[in-house]
Symmetry: D3
Subunit: 226 residues, 6 copies
């Protein structure tokens, strides 16, 4: 796992995150406006969009812009990223501005949504640091770290960070989003094949907790490096 900050030069935060063969570019953009539903409420917004380059995958995926709409999967993922990042952001402290996180998958090999959350947090943090430095906000709206992993039951054994081949073969797939203080933001467990038991669930959550602690360590290291 590798986190590379400042990957492109225009964005307020630009992070390339690599998890095995998965590579996602997370860009944070600050916009001094808020969506209509927050008008005159003196608070900000954090939101995300997700995309995949057509040939990030083993066989080419049709370009969503050419097809004229985002798939249900894309929308589900970008809603999850946005919710996860908002869970650790104090939107009042952020002030009446929006931070937009764009997560674009350059190469996919499983776990692109959890990589997006983990890398997206670092990009958000960089954008917030710029606002603090510029005096645009007085106190950081970021309340805690947040990261995510996918775990799964593969042949009866809980496995962390499945690659695509394992993912396709596993019985249960679980995405867990957790904060630096160990509380959960989101748990999504899905039986791909056989339904799972309460015991499976507990084993998967245990493994995910462990994995996320590791990831948050990497986020800390990456952010401390500047």
């Amino acid at each position: 796992m590798r986190i590379q900050r400042g990957y492109t030069r225009h964005a307020e935060g630009s992070v390339l995150i690599e998890f095995g063969d998965t590579r996602v570019l997370c860009a944070a953009s600050v916009d001094e406006k808020v969506p209509a539903f927050l008008k005159d409420r003196n608070r900000g917004w954090v939101t995300a969009e997700y995309g995949m380059l057509p040939r990030a995958t083993g066989t080419r995926t049709e370009r969503e812009a050419a097809r004229g709409r985002q798939s249900g999967r894309t929308q589900e993922i970008q809603r999850l990223i946005g919710r996860s990042l908002r869970a650790v952001t104090d939107l009042e402290r952020l002030g009446a501005r929006t931070i937009q996180i764009d997560c674009d998958v350059i190469q996919a090999d499983g776990g692109t949504r959890t990589a997006s959350i983990t890398g997206g947090f670092v990009a958000l943090h960089d954008a917030v640091s710029r606002l603090l430095l510029a005096g645009a906000i007085a106190e950081s709206p970021i309340l805690d770290y947040v990261a995510a992993v996918s775990v799964g039951m593969h042949g009866g054994v809980p496995v962390l960070d499945l690659d695509y081949a394992e993912d396709a073969a596993c019985d249960t797939d679980m995405n867990v989003v957790m904060t630096g203080s160990g509380a959960f933001v989101e748990i999504q467990g899905t039986a791909e094949g056989r339904p799972f038991t309460r015991g499976d669930m507990n084993a998967l959550v245990d493994l995910a907790e462990h994995g996320i602690r590791e990831l948050i360590g990497r986020q800390r290291a990456a952010l401390g490096a500047v």
Copy 2:
């Protein structure tokens, strides 16, 4: 909670399910075709679509057909309903045909996605019974019951089947989909406000298990009543 079979006369399965003030009409349609990705594979498909009448809600919601696209929320829900019903269906036994479940919310007061899964199962069961009766399939492809509830932490207390007002105010919202034999098909927990602890998660899953067992009893009764 009330389940009314044969609610409309055209569909192969037509179920009105009521949970408090929520009312969802679930219709099952049999189509003797399969989607392109299953061509020549000798197995069937179960899928779902979800919609809400514009004035099912307290204030009018724009009609998705008029807006020209389904929202991310709609797509997320209909994907969940489809996955949940497929988890208890043997698609090979079903044969090369599709059962389409349409879940349309007539009135909404929280829990529309879990009501859709619970009622959708009964509609699917009715459509399958017709196929068995007509001799189109030899053995039922339905492997188990499946039902769903939403639970939430409301003021620190786990609560079952929140209505809309409680839902909006709760800290954590969890949708649980479980089979008749007590295994899980899907668990989706989301922190709406404060992140939740492992203890909260366990308390919510306990409550959900209890609620789903109750619902499956109602499904059995409704199906036995004919």
Copy 3:
């Protein structure tokens, strides 16, 4: 024929109308805004949208929201409903607000557009009564009753309220919209097979007048019952 008011609880007017096997839910929503073309003109607007649940029909109809657009038939019908209701409404008395009528077909067996107009009028009336009660408007903007029937020539004989099987086999199909005082708002006669004569037209309009008078009696009864 049956008219049931207060069918759902959120809408300002909510009416289920049944004509034979046809069932349409008509919901009236009051919005304290007007469309752009009426800006600063001190008058209101009444408009309608029409939809059909996918399995309201004998074989499943594709969901318009999924297909991404409303059909020409849907647009034609909703324009007709809106025009018919505006014909008996004094838009200046209504004030700068919009009443939106949503007509959703739960089950279809011919005559859904005329059922929508007849039921939509009752829903509109209920919404207006609320505005009067709340003191939002001083005098009712509803100038007259309005109802509609479809009539057709079936094997040379004029028939009222055709069901779907008759409708498909008939030579001429006519929709008539008439007010309580017996004047016409809309007459649409279409030769489905052989063109029709002036005599056919007169016989159909006679029958329609008779049928609409009956319907307006039912509207009066339904509105008087509260």
Copy 4:
């Protein structure tokens, strides 16, 4: 009123029709295919599309191609043109081919839909003549002439072929489509302001019959002139 055949050189039928200041170009295209719903049924289809150049009108109308969809009005009109032309065509004699009529309004001053039907018939006739000449069909599928007029009540007086200014001010607007033998294909009467009486209706239909007979004379003359 003027009908000019052979207005452009590519189409199998190309007619410019002028009614006062209204000018519509009607082009018939023969396609040796049928729509999916007619597959293997050994019969043909006649259908129409309608459009308006953006500056056909007094103030510019947004281009439907740029807006990304046809309005409800456009769809209503093109469905009416198609139905009217099919009413005088024997689709079995036409054989398994489609004749597509494109009606494009170059300049608009009221009555564009009735001009489209009247001119569209002549274009259809020209396309059919080519098919007969080429021996592609043995017997003409055209069973009768068909033409259309719009009439209206203007200040209490029935008026034929209203121009735009009169149209906007009239109380009732009626489109009548009639065959050469004097039978009706379509009657659409709409109260724009005050509802209309049975007497108004009769006066309008009388006037329309008279007008259409005149138009059919012009169609005959135009077709005979070659």
Copy 5:
């Protein structure tokens, strides 16, 4: 080549231009607004839209309004027309208004984009003359004439104004847009078959210069004729 002004009566400029069998109707509309990106900048805008009637071509082309979007070719052409006309317009002198040029191809036989530019200029000029006459602007914003031709290498020989058959067979196709003073606004040369040499390019540009001078003479004559 023929330029006919005042072809329709509503537009501020309405020009039918014919080049061989190609006929394009160019309409200029004045709108007293500017696009959002020019807000409060005290300058105007000239823009263009392009369309083709479905049966302008030898075989029918699908209607872009029905298909729901403009093709890449259409967008490319309308961007070129707009840029060409803006190149000879002083947008500050025009004031905060937009002139929209609609170029609609009635009949196509090659060279529709260059005919659109050449005829569009005359329509623009007519619209500007009206603004000058009405005193809305003090000084003409039109700085120079502009016209365009297409040239091509056909069997090794440079040819002006190819018709469709030649166009399809030629090796290189070049569109040149030039002003009255002989400077270039746009040169677009494309190898359809074999790549072209610098010598080919020079021969084509020579021929184009000659052709455009001729066209600008015709524009002058057409504008002087009123």
Copy 6:
């Protein structure tokens, strides 16, 4: 300028090209099918799609997939890339398969379309080499090298490879696409401000020829390096 082959692992050709601060990822995908218009014609196709990550630019650009359509600019660029690559490909030798080139801009600073062509050629070459190696084709369909540059007049001086700031300020912008043997595939010169003279044009083409020769040297080196 830097060309990096094998940038991602799934595509048959994957090239990152950098021109100053511009970075474009060009991926070639082989698909053993051809578009409908080439059916049964025993020849292949080369086509391209172009996209820009939302934050490739100084301020965020709206995501085309979210907006639901590709802009005119995007379509113009991807058509140019496709034409340029087809100009050096023998489509019969390629056989009945499609090579799709996806050009995605990671970071933009001017010249993204010319970088896409230059890098896209290398990706195409890599995909073709794989087909040759696998014995799918017997002889290379690539007939020549092809590369592109943008040049412009900046303050009266011809300049090669303008960055974004220069580009915005320049009078004339020209994109030139040339083969290894020095013939032209495409020349597009546009006056952004003042029209340009024949002399300007010649100076720009001279400079472009020089620049492209340099680029083709780099392509040769990059391809020889494996």
